[in-house]
Amino acid sequence: MHAWIARLASLKLTLFILIALGAGILMSYAEWMSGTWALAVPLALFALNLMAAVASKPAFRRQKALLIFHLGLIAIVLLLVAGRLTYLKGSVELSEGEEFDGQLTSFEAGPWHWWNLGRVHFSNEGFRIAYAPGVVRDKTRNMVRYADAEGREQHAEIGDQQPLVLSGYRFYTSPNKGFAPTFFWQPASGGPASLGTVHLPSYPLNEYKQAREWQLPGTGIRVWTMLQFDEVILKQDGPSEFRLPREHKVVVHIGDLRRELQPGDAIELPQGRLVYDGLRTWMGYAVFYDWTIHWMLVVCMITVAALGWHLWRKFSARPWDA
């Protein structure tokens, strides 16, 4: 057993693991193999190698700073594992005035992620985005309204360096945003009217593709919607700001029917009445959850401080040219 630990604690094995980790990163970077396995196997070996070394090498008992540095490396690997098992990364789009309902547009999550998104409530209260000449995006200011831990209503401005953090979930504004025509749909059957928005493709990335097809709720009717306006929103030759066009129209195709709508205009269909309410904006949010990030920062700082302390003591004990 001891011989086995000694072999696992080998410093030459550490060198091999460092090469394997580098090779894994390169292979994953070149997309020759799965990043998970390319990193997980060398990192698992690294953790075992470090633990065996700490348990069996007398040098660690003599040099406390070196011990703390290596324990810190083990803790970083363990935190990485914990983070990957419980993380969440996703995205969600909210129209101006819309409240987040806990549903994400897309996501990936660790197998042990505890879904607390249902407890998160906030709404997008609109945004301002400055653009530099040449249509280069500058500062984003997004107003949000949310309920704090005591349930009190709060307002905040987020964007660029400032996420909204609720129950550990971090909501970041993204470059993905655009225009959202808003419609009322009143079914002829007398059911409840519904209000909905159509998130047109991201603007200005898809400046000339401001159209989308969608389905009327509770029906199989496909509606093709296109936004048209003539004015220049974002200027090439000067600073500007993302805003709604002053004048616009929405072109709607339902089967062979084509209509151009202004706010308040309606289309009567056998299945119900479709009213164009007006134009809003929508914002795409990147959502991130990883409870380990603060612990990771603390451990990293302790680890690097221990390394610095160890090297300082080592180097100050003897001049380099002695």
Binding site: L11, K12, T14, L15, L18, I19, L21, G22, I25, L26, S28, Y29, G35, K89, A132, G134, V136, R137, D138, K139, T140, G159, D160, Q161, Q162, P163, R170, Y172, P175, A286, V287, F288, I293, M296, L297, C300, M301, T303, V304, L307, G308, L311, F315, W320, D321
Partner: protein
């Protein structure tokens, strides 16, 4: 533009200093005070040029390739100037390191000095901390390269005769190791500061973007070289080859990735 003229004057001072340093080694002379004075003059002019540009554009030199090159020439020269001033026995190693800096300076002269747009995610103190740690790392690696270059040059009879007055290989190797160890600490701090910035700016602390990937590979190669040094009891020559490898990977990371990628950090632009 005055800032460019001042920059050219600074580069001229560096080139004259480096050329004197190379010729001095070939002729076995030591005009060290002149070289140090020229380097300091170059640094003062270079600082003035960077300050003028910073004042004009309202942001530091970290957006365009021109700015990345000029700020790194400045920080590398500063790191080597400190080593040159504080460690007199290694001064002839200027003959090794100055040609490397000449290459970067030549590249700088061929680069478009036009201005770039400061992304909104760059309005953070973590940018300065991240870049500052990176510059200390690269400066320490450059000094290690200078010393290691002397060890490698001594592998030939001609090199041994030209660098005979420097301390022996064992001591130079120890100095090189110490510089690399300092570099390792600051490279680690650079990665940590970058992760804090990335978390706030782009909603993730690590995403394996090109610059992150190559910075971590540099960290791994550096960790390998430090670990191999005492695990394998490497000779000064083998240790120097590892220092050279670290410098090459670090150089590719610092200059190669921004050169080939318009968005070295995903979402940065």
């Amino acid at each position: 533009m005055i800032e460019l003229k001042v920059l050219w004057a600074a580069l001229l001072a560096y080139v004259v200093a480096g050329s004197i340093g190379i010729v001095a080694v070939l002729l076995r002379r030591r005009p060290e005070r002149i070289i140090l004075a020229l380097i300091v003059l170059g640094l003062l002019l270079h600082t003035w040029s960077i300050a003028l540009r910073w004042e004009r554009l309202g942001h530091g030199p970290y957006i365009t390739m021109f700015e990345i090159l000029t700020s790194n020439v400045w920080s590398m020269m500063l790191a080597f100037a400190i080593a040159y001033w504080r460690i007199p026995p290694i001064r002839p190693s200027a003959a090794v390191v100055m040609p490397v800096l000449f290459i970067v300076m030549g590249w700088l002269l061929m680069t478009n000095p036009g201005e770039g747009h400061l992304p909104p995610t760059y309005h953070t103190v973590w940018l300065y901390i991240h870049i500052g740690f990176g510059k200390v790392f690269f400066g320490a690696t450059l000094v290690a390269l200078a010393v290691s270059g002397v060890i490698l040059a001594r592998g030939t009879a001609y090199g041994a005769s030209r660098f005979e007055r420097l301390p022996d290989d064992k001591r130079l190797s120890e100095l090189s190791f110490r510089c690399m160890a300092i570099g390792f600490v600051f490279e680690t701090l650079m990665l940590i500061a970058g992760a804090i910035w990335a978390q706030d700016a782009w909603g993730r602390y690590w995403a394996w973007d090109p610059l992150e990937t190559w910075a971590f590979l540099t960290w791994l190669v550096l960790a390998f070289s430090l670990h191999a040094r005492f695990t394998l009891k490497l000779s000064p020559r083998a240790g120097s080859l590892l220092v050279l490898a670290v410098f090459v990977v670090a150089f590719l990371t610092f200059f190669g990735v921004p050169f080939i990628s318009t968005t070295p950090h995903k979402g940065a632009v």
